[in-house]
Symmetry: C2
Subunit: 323 residues, 2 copies
């Protein structure tokens, strides 16, 4: 089974969710609607909705119930992207704050707020307060992740634990919750709900670590931005952390990049080469693999039919992906 098969299988239901997403952002307000629709059209793999649908297969599958989980989770994801961009945008203009850039940022901030609120509103379809608790907790944790990232930005002295907690909050938790709530909304067996939560969590960790590796080893064409962008922006990820702890030469270079705070005096190619030769890339990939294996193990005792094969395939895709 291939990833394309999964999307083909769920095509109609993904389309339903897409329509619901469009409807959710049809604010009566022109600017907000344009900003939201723009974001929506930018696409993305809709990975969270897909996990919701897949998890729903372990209970009573009904897209008209599941969409009330899939839409909020995708909206939360999009809102967090908008809020991430608020500052990046201002950054690009390097201190030249035009009225227009100021406008954009404010609109971006309130578009994000609006999407958060729409997410919560969509989920009010469910009476179960447990579902609301899980969703609002996920938003909270994501905020904590963002604030931790800001706190630890440009800091070369981070324990690995800090990195893992950050990517859990920023990425893995929302995928875990997609699986958990998809199963919960479909009234799957509580033991299965829990297994799917951990499956999503481990897959999410693996996914983010691979992402952090690709930021170093992808080409500018694949990434849509120069390799090493994370480090340049002060985001110290697993390959760099490993190199910092294990290779004096790489350590000096990375510390230099972080001290420069964007005004780089060292060539990024050199830094990346040093991280590669430190073993940081291989190490990160092995950890990503480890998480993937943990994810697979969660499926061990689940019924051995199509829904499980879907989950295995999507996990494999995440393990295989090269950009």
């Amino acid at each position: 089974m291939k990833l394309a098969d999964i999307y083909a299988h769920f095509q109609e239901d993904i389309f339903t969710i897409e329509r619901e997403l469009e409807e959710a952002v049809q604010a009566r307000h022109d600017i907000l609607r344009k900003a939201s629709v723009h974001l929506l059209k930018a696409g993305g793999k809709r990975i969270r909705p897909v996990f919701v649908l897949l998890a729903g297969k372990f209970g009573t599958y009904d897209v008209n119930v599941l969409k009330h989980i899939a839409v909020p989770l995708e909206l939360i994801h999009m809102a967090s992207l908008v809020h991430d961009d608020v500052i990046d945008d201002a950054d690009l203009r390097r201190g030249k704050k035009t009225i227009k850039s100021q406008w954009d940022n404010r609109i971006a901030m309130y578009t994000g707020d609006y999407m958060f609120a729409k997410a919560v509103q969509t989920a009010t379809y469910f009476d179960d307060p447990n579902i609301h608790q899980i969703i609002s907790n996920a938003i909270n944790e994501m905020c904590l992740g963002e604030v931790e990232q800001i706190r630890d930005q440009y800091n070369p002295n981070q324990h690995l634990r800090i990195y893992f907690r950050r990517i859990k909050r920023k990425t893995a938790l929302l995928i875990a919750v997609s699986c958990q709530l998809g199963a919960l909304a479909a009234k799957a067996d509580p033991a299965i709900v829990q297994k799917l939560y951990y499956f999503g969590y481990y897959v999410g960790m693996s996914f983010q670590i691979t992402d952090d590796v690709l930021d170093f080893v992808g080409t500018e064409e694949q990434l849509g931005k120069p390799a090493g962008s994370d480090l340049l922006q002060g985001n110290v990820t697993l390959p760099a952390l490993y190199a910092l702890h294990h290779d004096m030469h790489a350590k000096r270079l990375i510390e230099q990049v972080l001290a420069d705070r964007g005004n780089n005096s060292v060539h990024m190619e050199e830094v990346i080469a040093a991280i590669v030769s430190s073993g940081g890339i291989d190490y990160a990939l092995s950890i990503s693999d480890l998480y993937l294996k943990k994810a697979m193990r969660m499926l061990d005792h689940l019924p051995d039919d199509e829904p499980k094969q879907f989950l295995q395939e999507i996990a494999n895709y995440i393990g295989r992906r090269k950009f």
Copy 2:
């Protein structure tokens, strides 16, 4: 009965809510906690919690139930203040974006996000999806109000309708919802819940219009900022709108201020004098009074005892306040 009597009457319960608010923002994260606690300590009249408590008196009053409404609504109010500040802060530094100012803004944005999520989370105490619907709708409307304010900033050609809708979304709705949900959580009679909703709405409109008047006629000492700050920041409020529509001299001056976009070439004293002599201040005060009378009329058929007297007193306070 005086306002102080109301605060005295509810002293213990306001204290309970204050403690809950402090607990709600006790994020495990240091920066977030400091930012939130700082905001909390800055105080404010806790007017929304007071309305929740007052409305709760029309049903089965229990602060341990009502606090789960009062805390979210105050958190939403505070979150919206934080997000308002995000850009003001950057503005003050006029294009000089230091790392520190960038940090502050990002932290402020995520502190706001965190508070929104905490608000939603606190309200999950209630099983009634109606309550969650009302809360998320209020956040949505506030976002719309913010975006409309941005859209209409520096625009002298606004219909009065636009102004009233904006202050409804930015201020009146959250006070209306405080009354509505306080009564709802106390299981008051549905007819009373509705009357209290409108009471809050009218009081909120009156409150904001008075606020907008005071921004012109208050002293710098009373306001904590120079008189005319709203107009200077491009926020066209009722007195200015009236003047724009009724007085050619005032119109020219106001248009000049708006065209200048903060780099003022006219003296604000002159602009304010023109607005006063246009009748804009008197007009706005009369509209504020009108809303207050509408609010009072909502109380006509409510039982004529202490809770009603409290509401009358708080409405009177809002009518009387001079800064």
